[in-house]
C-alpha cells in the first residue's frame, strides 16, 4: 500500500481544499521512502496524521469503543473554523488515494469521507477512477478495515510521543489485537469462532430444527394428554367413590329391608293362609275335644269309683238273678214234688227234702240280700258300654290334645312370622328407594366405565406419543451422531486451537528475535546485551538483561520506552509482512541525540516503502536532515497564517529550500 495523495477540504487548520502529494518519488534505482513534513507547533502536522487515520479507520481512529454521536460531534469539531464562520453547514472532506494490491489485483483506490454539520458522514470508494456505488458507507469502511485492520493502524500511524504507552503496557492488551492480527492468529480465531457459530447456529441446531420442533410439539401434546389422562382418572376415581357409596347405600337399604322382615313379607300371604288353616284345625280340634268332654269322658276321670260302682252293680245283678232263680224254683217245686211222688213213692219225701235243703240253702243265701243299686240289665249293659266308651274317649282326647298343642305351637310360630312381616305398604317405600339407588348405581357404573374407557384411550394416545417421541429422540440422537461434520468441526477446533498455540509460540519467538534485532539496531551500546521475552498468552513484552533478569519497564525513561516501542513496531511490521506506510508524528520528541541518531539512520529509512514523518524543526534539524536526505522523496513545510487562522503547505523543508535557494 502506497499513499498517493491526500486531499483535505475544510479540515482542521486547512481552509478550502489542500492536496498533498504523498507518492514517494524514485531517483534512478534508489527508492526514497521518506516524505517529510516540517511544521512548528500548531501548524497542522497532527492534522495530517489525523486525516490519514480518519480516512482509513473512520470511527475506530478514535478508539475501540466510540458511539456514533461522539464520532459525529468529533467530526464536526474537525471542520475548519474559518469555513464554518463563512458558512454554517460548510462541507468538510478527506480524500485519500492509495495503490493497493487486493485479491491479486493492483488497483488505485480513492477514499472520500465527507461530512456536514449535524449529519452523517458519507464514505465513498473509487476504484481505478470509477466510483463503486454498490457499496454503502459501512461496506466501504469494512473494506478499509480489511486492508488496514484497526489494531494495526495504531501501530503504523502513530504519534511518537504516545507510542511510549506501548512500552508501559504490561497487560498485553495494546499489543494483543495487533499481534494477533499481524501474525494471522486472528484468522485462526475467526475461523474458530465461525466454526462455533456454525456449530451453535447453523450446525446441529438448524439440522435438527424440524425434529426439535416436532419433539416440542409432541412433548406439548403429550403433556396435554397426560393432563387429560390424569383429569379423566381423577374423575373416574371420584365416580368410583360415588359408586362404592351407592353400593354401600344399597347394601344398607337391603339390610334395612331384611331387618324389617322383608323375607317374611314375601311369604306373608302364604303364612296367613296356613295360619287360617291352622286356626280352622284348632277350632275343629277344640270342638272335638269339647264334644268328647261333653260325652262319657268324665267317667274315665274316676276309674276307681267306677270300678267299685261296676262291682256293686255286678253283685246287685247276681243278687237279682239269685232271687229270680229262687222265685222260679219256688214256683217249680210243687210240680217237682208231685212228679217225684209219682215216680218215687217212698223215697219221694227224702228226695224232696234233699232238693229243698239244697235249694233252700241256695235261695236263702240270697233271700236276705237286697240289691243296693237297682238297675235293669239293659241299664247295666249301657253303663258297661259307657265305661268302655269313656276310656276310648280318654285316649282320643289325649290324641286330640296333642294335636291341638301342635297346632297351637305351629300357629304361634307362624303368627310370630306374620307379626314380623311388615306390611307391603311399609316396605314399598324402602323398595322404591332401593330401586332408585340401584338405578343410580347403574347410571354411575356406566359413567364410571365410560370414564375408564376414556382414560384408557387417552393413555393409549399418550403411549403412542411417547413412542413417537422416543423415535424422534433417537432420530435426533442419530442426527447428532450422524452429523460427522459436527465432530469434524469440533476436532478441527481442537486442531486449530493447537495450531494457534503453536503458531503463536512460533510467531512470538520470531517476534522476539526480530525485536532483539530491531532493538539492538536502535539501542545504545550498553543496551546491546538485552533481549526480549514475550508471553505467548498475554503478549506482555519483557526486557531481559544479560543475566536473564527481567527489567522493570516502568523504571525505564520516556525515551527508552519510545525506543522500545519503535523496536516492537519494527519487529511487528517485519513479521507481519504487511506493506503499510508508516506515519509518525513527533517521532523524536523525548529522545537523546544518540537515540535520535539511531532512529534517523536505522529506523525511518527501513521502516517501510513509504514513511511519512511529521516533524518540528528541532526534531529533524539540519544534521539529521542531511543524514536522511538521500532517503527523502520530498518534503513539505506547513505554515500557519495567524491572520487567516489557516495553514498552507509549501514544498520544501525549513532550510532545504533555503539551501536550494542558496545554491
Amino acid at each position: 500500500m502506497i499513499f498517493k495523495t491526500l486531499t483535505l477540504n475544510n479540515f482542521r487548520v486547512f481552509n478550502g481544499q489542500t492536496t498533498i502529494d504523498l507518492d514517494p518519488r524514485k531517483e534512478g534505482m534508489f527508492e526514497r521512502p521518506i516524505i517529510l513534513f516540517g511544521g512548528l507547533n500548531g501548524a497542522g502536522k497532527t492534522s495530517i496524521l489525523t486525516a490519514i487515520r480518519l480516512a482509513l479507520l473512520g470511527k475506530r481512529a478514535l478508539g475501540a469503543v466510540i458511539t456514533k454521536k461522539d464520532y459525529l460531534s468529533y467530526l464536526n469539531e474537525q471542520t475548519n473554523k474559518t469555513a464554518t464562520k463563512a458558512q454554517q453547514d460548510a462541507e468538510s472532506s478527506i480524500t485519500l488515494s492509495f495503490s493497493h494490491t487486493h485479491q491479486g489485483k493492483h488497483n488505485l483506490y480513492e477514499v472520500t469521507r465527507k461530512w456536514q454539520l449535524e449529519s452523517d458522514e458519507k464514505l465513498t470508494l473509487t476504484i481505478n477512477g470509477e466510483q463503486d456505488t454498490s457499496l454503502n458507507s459501512e461496506q466501504v469502511q469494512a473494506f478499509l478495515h480489511e486492508i488496514v485492520p484497526p489494531g494495526i493502524g495504531d501501530l503504523f500511524f502513530f504519534d511518537g510521543e504516545k507510542i511510549a504507552e506501548l512500552a508501559e503496557d504490561d497487560t498485553g492488551s495494546y499489543l494483543k489485537e495487533a499481534v494477533q492480527k499481524l501474525l494471522g492468529i486472528d484468522i485462526i480465531n475467526r475461523l474458530s469462532n465461525d466454526l462455533d457459530i456454525y456449530l451453535k447456529g447453523l450446525g446441529a441446531e438448524t439440522a435438527d430444527k424440524d425434529t426439535l420442533k416436532k419433539i416440542k410439539a409432541a412433548e406439548d401434546q403429550k403433556k396435554q394428554i397426560t393432563q387429560q389422562v390424569n383429569t379423566t382418572r381423577d374423575k373416574a376415581d371420584s365416580i368410583g367413590a360415588q359408586l362404592t357409596e351407592l353400593k354401600n347405600k344399597i347394601a344398607a337399604k337391603e339390610h334395612e329391608i331384611q331387618a324389617q322382615g322383608g323375607a317374611w313379607a314375601k311369604t306373608k300371604d302364604q303364612e296367613q293362609a296356613k295360619a287360617s288353616e291352622l286356626i280352622e284345625l284348632e277350632k275343629e280340634l277344640t270342638a272335638k275335644i269339647r264334644q268328647e268332654l261333653s260325652g262319657s269322658l268324665p267317667m274315665a276321670l274316676a276309674p276307681t269309683a267306677m270300678q267299685s260302682l261296676i262291682e256293686q252293680l255286678t253283685s246287685d245283678q247276681q243278687i237279682k238273678q239269685a232271687k229270680a232263680f229262687g222265685n222260679e224254683l219256688v214256683q217249680a217245686l210243687p210240680n217237682l214234688e208231685s212228679a217225684l211222688n209219682q215216680k218215687f213213692d217212698t223215697q219221694s219225701s227224702d228226695i224232696m227234702a234233699t232238693v229243698n235243703s239244697y235249694f233252700g240253702q241256695l235261695v236263702n243265701q240270697t233271700a236276705l240280700a237286697e240289691p243296693k243299686l237297682d238297675i235293669s240289665d239293659s241299664e247295666f249293659a249301657l253303663i258297661n258300654a259307657q265305661v268302655t266308651e269313656a276310656s276310648q274317649s280318654q285316649a282320643l282326647i289325649k290324641e286330640l290334645s296333642t294335636a291341638l298343642t301342635q297346632t297351637q305351637n305351629k300357629l304361634s310360630s307362624l303368627s310370630i312370622n306374620i307379626e314380623r312381616a311388615p306390611d307391603a305398604a311399609d316396605l314399598h317405600e324402602l323398595y322404591t328407594s332401593l330401586r332408585e339407588l340401584e338405578k343410580q348405581r347403574d347410571t354411575t357404573s356406566k359413567e364410571y366405565i365410560s370414564e375408564l374407557l376414556k382414560a384408557k384411550e387417552f393413555k393409549a394416545k399418550e403411549l403412542e406419543l411417547a413412542k413417537r417421541l422416543e423415535k424422534d429422540y433417537s432420530k435426533l440422537k442419530n442426527n447428532h451422531s450422524a452429523d460427522k461434520a459436527v465432530e469434524r468441526v469440533e476436532l478441527s477446533q481442537y486442531v486449530l486451537q493447537d495450531f494457534k498455540h503453536a503458531l503463536t509460540e512460533l510467531r512470538v519467538t520470531q517476534l522476539e528475535e526480530l525485536f532483539v534485532k530491531a532493538y539492538r539496531k536502535l539501542a545504545r551500546k550498553e543496551d546491546l546485551k538485552l533481549s526480549a521475552k514475550i508471553d505467548p498468552t498475554s503478549f506482555d513484552v519483557n526486557l531481559v538483561d544479560a543475566e536473564g533478569v527481567i527489567i522493570n519497564r516502568k523504571s525505564m525513561s520516556a525515551g527508552e520506552k519510545q525506543i522500545f516501542a519503535f523496536a516492537i513496531l519494527e519487529a511487528l511490521g517485519k513479521l507481519s509482512g504487511k506493506v503499510l506506510p508508516v506515519v509518525v508524528d513527533t517521532p523524536l520528541g523525548r529522545l537523546d541525540s544518540k537515540h535520535r541518531d539511531k532512529l534517523i539512520k536505522h529506523y525511518f529509512p527501513e521502516a517501510s516503502e513509504q514513511v511519512i514523518l511529521l516533524s518540528t524543526d528541532t526534531e529533524v534539524d539540519e544534521d539529521f536532515y542531511q543524514a536522511i536526505e538521500h532517503k527523502v522523496s520530498h518534503a513539505f513545510e506547513i505554515e500557519f497564517n495567524q491572520h487567516t487562522n489557516c495553514s498552507t503547505l509549501r514544498e520544501g523543508y525549513f532550510w532545504a529550500e533555503l539551501a536550494q535557494e542558496a545554491i
Binding site: L293, S294, P298, A300, S308, L382, Q386, I397, K398, L400
Partner: protein, 119 residues
C-alpha cells in the same frame, strides 16, 4: 234319684263361667268333670254342713249331666244311700265345688285336658 232341676253354689257357678271364658268348656260339662274328679278323690259330703245352693243357673238334670246322668246318680246313691233326692242334689253341688277347685284356674283347654288327664 236327683231332682229334675238342679243348681249350684253361686261362687262355683261364677268359677264355671270364668272357666268357660278361658277354655270354652261349658259350665255343665265342666261340672261333670269336676264331679267325677271329686268322686275319684274320695271326697265325702257331710249333709250336716250348711251348704247353700245360691246359684242362678238353674238347669234341668239332663242338661247338667248328659250321658253321665245314670252313672252320676248311681255313684251318688252308692256313696250316699240314705240321702233324699234333695240331699243328693246338694251333695252333687258340693262335689262339683270340690272338683272344680283344682281346675278352675286352668288357662286354656289344652292345659285343662293336661290337668285332668294327669291328675
Amino acid at each position: 234319684m236327683l231332682p229334675q232341676t238342679m243348681w249350684l253354689n253361686k261362687a262355683v257357678e261364677e268359677q264355671l263361667q270364668t272357666l268357660k271364658g278361658k277354655t270354652g268348656v261349658t259350665p255343665n260339662v265342666a261340672a261333670r268333670i269336676a264331679f267325677f274328679r271329686s268322686i275319684e278323690k274320695g271326697f265325702i259330703f257331710n249333709k250336716e254342713k250348711d251348704y247353700k245352693l245360691s246359684g242362678s243357673l238353674k238347669l234341668d238334670k239332663f242338661t247338667w249331666l248328659g250321658k253321665t246322668q245314670m252313672v252320676t246318680e248311681l255313684l251318688l246313691k252308692q256313696r250316699y244311700p240314705e240321702y233324699s233326692d234333695k240331699e243328693l242334689q246338694t251333695a252333687w253341688a258340693a262335689h262339683v265345688e270340690d272338683g272344680i277347685a283344682t281346675i278352675r284356674n286352668q288357662r286354656d283347654l289344652v292345659n285343662l285336658i293336661h290337668n285332668i288327664n294327669t291328675a
